[in-house]
Symmetry: C2
Subunit: 687 residues, 2 copies
């Protein structure tokens, strides 16, 4: 038996043995994301590029979960882990099906390029929706959960996760190929690298380099960043973002041609090239820019991952996962559960939950009311059933529903030959003829997302402001003139200020295949809303630091309380919870939380810590959270481990230590922020 087929050896030993059998040309070819087969060694072609950010993506039919920013709003990393399990399960089922068909194309493999653990430092970033929000701890907890779910705990990886985009990456999209993010040592350690370190140490199999430079070095060819990975014991494969290596000469000016770019990346630890630069690796070898050892080393890294996935094995425990698991009832139920738990109730004057007995007619209005795109978010799969907001309400409500699209998502009219605002009279009529209006506004992935995907007249994927498009602002004002109660539902991947009073406001995010059903359940009080904001909602973009400024100063809840519309951690329910008896011992916080209202609900107990050290961020920082279900009147005692790292702070040199003995610990169902909510518990801890 060939040594590389010997399943008793370690993955790396087998990979080394395999690479030993390969010619240097074969090795180089296997560092392309679209690796050709090596028939001599019975090595099938393999395409490293697959996506599974919130459900298996771009690969046809798959369960489509709420976008990641919404998953973060659940404040429930156990649920995120289950999402990861489903993604891996469906990836295996589709891999099995594709393989038996002889299909080794893009989006068919087992190397999924998620999670995205970049910090959503600026609300304008179009790809912020892919992240778990603005907080390093929340991001890391969810990132680890996703990796656990994707990779499983078997001897063979179920799927290989890949954390991205290493590192610091967070817009602007239209500059990303040339941008040099200048980041302080403190911000790097405290904010930008935190989740990467946590997730890599938790065993993420892959790391993807970012497009941008970080303090001068290209992220895909960075000595500094590679050193970090080594420190963290990273043992997997490193892949460039797609066509990012080409940027080294085309946009970053770090090299002068493709051959040099390939060499610079390979020399600095980029094993797999998404793009076409590594077709030049043999030229780089000829020119002496890389050695055969460089190529073989990268190839060993890559082959190790494939071995861990069982791709070289006769059989794996996953070969019998049938195609029918894709979009199974169980998977779809989980997608619904995520949508239910991620929507955030931001305003409610008491109109919600709706009293169905007093409603004959509901108007459902707005460009996102019957939009499948508004459920999807970017990097999505194709659901086998979409339930739009309109459809969810139609299915749930026994009375009459009047629908009007109201306006285009961002254009000033629906018909080219018409006058501006050509659906406003319809929207007004629908509102006027109804007892209450559900007004579905926001963005979708055609205008909020990634450069290239979303380049249109409206934007480059990033938002220019936190306002709704003008067409929608006019729609809101028109509908309000009808004089009926208005419940605004905002689908977006980021902070929006709707700039208008309304009777209730629900931040629905991009809520996945069953978003409309979850919304209807919430509107009619079948369940209580329970999501919490994983990002700060600001009043205005005008008061934010410049988008290109990567300093954390005045950014996120840890560093600012100015310009706040709704704070990080905020979210109402249909009930009322109170915390009492906060205690702390042996690294564990305990607190009792009671549902003192009359509605069964989930709540999220949030623990924040403020070090009294001068290096600490100015405001208390999330260090623990737990989602808990509470019947009306029910009280539960919650215990939450506080990681030791929560007590560290980071000085200007980037050194992380416990610099202080004194801390204040906070517990509440939201961020401890006096101007919002009903107060919080706090206690002083001395270590």
């Amino acid at each position: 038996m060939k040594k590389y087929l010997d399943e008793s050896l370690s993955a790396r030993e087998r990979a080394k043995a395999l690479v030993n059998e390969m010619t240097i040309e074969e090795c180089a070819s296997r560092l392309r994301y679209d690796s050709p087969s090596v028939e001599r060694l019975r090595l099938d072609a393999y395409n490293w590029w697959n996506e599974g950010l919130h459900g298996l993506a771009r690969a046809g039919t798959a369960t489509m979960f709420s976008q990641c920013i919404a998953l973060a709003a659940m404040f429930d990393s156990e649920l995120v882990e289950r999402v990861g399990e489903v993604i891996a399960q469906e990836a295996r089922a589709k891999y099995n099906a594709a393989k038996s068909f002889g299909d080794f194309d893009i989006y068919k493999g087992l190397t999924l390029w998620n999670p995205n653990v970049n910090i959503f430092r600026d609300p304008r970033w179009g790809r912020g929706q892919e992240t778990y929000g603005e907080d390093p701890f929340l991001t890391a907890e969810n990132g680890k959960a996703m990796v656990r779910g994707l990779q499983g705990d078997g001897e063979v990886l179920k799927a290989a996760a890949c954390v991205k985009h290493f590192a610091v990456h967070s817009g602007p999209e239209n500059l990303r190929h040339e941008f040099d993010a200048k980041v302080s040592a403190k911000d790097l350690e405290e904010t930008y690298l935190y989740a990467f370190e946590e997730v890599v140490k938790a065993g993420a199999e892959g790391v993807m380099g970012a497009y941008n430079r970080v303090n001068g070095e290209a992220a895909c060819a960075s000595e500094f960043l590679q050193k970090k990975l080594t420190e963290w014991g990273f043992d997997g494969y490193f892949v460039s973002d797609c066509w990012a290596v080409r940027d080294l000469h085309e946009h970053h000016g770090l090299t002068s041609n493709s051959v040099e770019s390939a060499a610079l990346a390979l020399k600095n630890g980029c094993d797999i090239n998404c793009g076409c630069s590594y077709v030049n690796l043999l030229a780089a070898l000829e020119q002496g820019l890389v050695s055969e050892d460089d190529i073989r080393k990268a190839c060993v890294n890559a082959m190790t991952t494939l071995v861990k996935l069982g791709i070289l094995d006769e059989e794996t425990p996953y070969d019998n996962i049938p195609y029918s698991v894709v979009c199974s009832d169980e998977h779809k139920a989980l997608a619904l559960e995520c949508a239910e738990k991620s929507m955030v109730l931001l305003e409610n004057n008491g109109i919600l939950p709706l009293d169905e007995s007093r409603l004959k007619t509901i108007a459902v209005v707005g460009p996102n009311a019957d939009s499948r795109t508004a459920l999807e978010g970017n990097y999505c799969g194709r659901a086998d059933r979409y339930v739009t907001f309109l459809e969810g309400i139609e299915d749930r409500f026994s009375g009459r529903v009047l629908y009007s699209e109201g306006c285009h998502l961002y254009k000033d009219r629906m018909s080219a030959l018409a006058m501006v605002g050509d659906r406003l009279s319809e929207a007004y009529a629908a509102a006027k003829s109804s007892d209450v209006v559900i007004l579905c506004v926001g963005l979708d992935s055609t205008i909020e997302g990634e450069e290239g995907d979303t380049g249109n007249e409206f934007s480059s994927g990033d938002k220019e402001s936190l306002r709704l498009p003008e067409s929608q602002r006019k729609l809101i004002e028109t509908v309000k003139k009808a004089g009926k109660p208005v419940i605004v539902v905002c689908a977006s991947g980021s902070s929006i200020n709707i700039e208008s009073d309304c009777d209730a406001l629900i931040q629905a995010w991009y809520s996945g295949e069953s978003g409309g059903r979850a919304l209807a359940e919430i509107l009619f009080g079948d369940i209580s809303p329970s999501g919490k904001l994983p990002v700060t909602f600001y009043k205005s973009a005008d008061k934010l630091p410049d988008f290109t400024d990567y300093s954390m100063k005045n950014r996120t809840y840890r560093y600012t309380r100015e310009n706040i519309l709704y704070p990080f951690g905020y979210g109402l329910t249909y009930s009322k919870a109170q915390c009492r008896e906060l205690e702390f011992s042996d690294g564990e916080a305990s607190v009792k939380v009671c549902n003192v209202g009359s509605f069964d609900t989930d709540e999220v107990v949030q623990i924040y810590l403020k070090s009294h050290d001068k290096n600490a961020p100015p405001y208390p920082t999330l260090c623990g959270f737990k989602r808990v279900s509470l019947k009306a009147g029910e009280e539960k005692e919650i215990k939450i481990d506080i990681p030791k790292k929560a007590f560290t702070t980071v000085d200007e040199s980037g050194r992380r230590e416990i610099f202080s003995e004194k801390f204040t610990l906070y517990a509440s169902t939201q961020q401890p922020f006096e101007e919002f909510g009903d107060g919080f518990l706090k206690m002083t801890i001395t270590m």
Copy 2:
């Protein structure tokens, strides 16, 4: 009181009085489709352009019925009349709402630019879907029914119908602005003008001129065609197709500039100009190309229509139609009924209806499976609920449904970076994992439709052949390899040859908002299919006459039996009907029809007539039809009036007369065509 407000006067008298009060400039301005207000006379702005081909269209939310070709497949003009009533009802409701909002924009008025009674003479024509098929009689019956429904029978027109495109118009789309259709006198009288004459005589309020020329004259400025309208007693308004008057100088070479084009059109009876040519009417007046009288005469025609619509009245019987009638339950039920009655079962080896008790898993595959666009057809409104084929099956079937898009509608791959056929492995896996496959193929309005709307890499709106796009042909072959029974569902507005054996084949057309529900009801045997083809399905386009050849020779069932895949009038049910005892007296045919099968079904009794005159078309011609519901075992006697005109034939000079005394009368539930079906009754009549 101003005379034009005197409701005791005739509409034309009031219009004349109004026009007498208008300056010549005001008159000219009111001949533009987007007429400005005349505040001095309290005349609101009015936009003549509104659409309602198969539901109020382009005006936001409205009940969306099956496309017209499908409505024709019902062979049920009473139902078409009810569709017209709903369209008018919704038009009034939306007109009332828009008017009270001060909105007099495009697609908000009461002049609906339908029905389209052009003859679908060539299956390649993209706009053939808008028509009632290839038969003049069937077209006329449905056209009259639509007009009755739209206009109502009150003193005030509920809405104003407009028959189009006068005349002969039927492709090619990409030549329409310059094309001169050469038509014989016989074909004009026998085929192309037949339905126009019938519908105009039945009281259609408007006529729209076509883009093309007819034997040298532009249809929008044709002395010949105007003379026909006069002969028929036409008393309404004539409107140009949109920007067709501009074509007179830009493409037809009939005039040398805009002013001359406006003059030529006005002089030849074109009252209203859709487009911008009539801004030149005053210049034409100055240049002596038209007279004040010409302008005032056209304006009287136009104002007469507005008076008939009650637009100048203090109140009308329709002012209280509330907005809530739009998409009412009753209207939606009618849309479903049309979808149920229009789908045509073309093949069935016994697999249909599906035996649910023996099915655990169904694969629903194909680019049209979950496509809302595939329900719409062109000139459509926005439904408040779409039920796609996939959704209909998911809702109806209690077992598992596996969905795969399978391929792009016409592109060779779904993802730009992927290899050709990148969803085939998924489609195969879904099929392989199922007990039966519902394979949803066909076209949609992005590739079948009107020049301008559908200009893309695939087509100009017309079909190049009768084949499915290559991507779909590959999909069918791939899915069949899975070895499971395959039921093909084809959504298209015209004849398609799927070129593949399958267990069953349903022609679903563009089936409107509830198409998926209707399909599921048929698949699972809740109802029997009962639609009949209103067009011949040909085997191949290669054997058709040239697309630009307007001779009827070798076109449609009346003139050819070559190259026939499925004949006009064809369509299976889940039962079996037999006709007996055909009789004829006093212009009435009577026949007994019995459901000799074991399934309740609708059937369509079809009466054809063959004159023994040498001028008669070579094959029997439809002269009567009646849809009838039959329980299993039930027999009904059907009486059908045969119009006297059915006994006429048309000689080469275009003279229509009863040239023969001898006729053969046929009765069956399909066209009398030996190679298809179970036979027919016939009898000889001597007049």
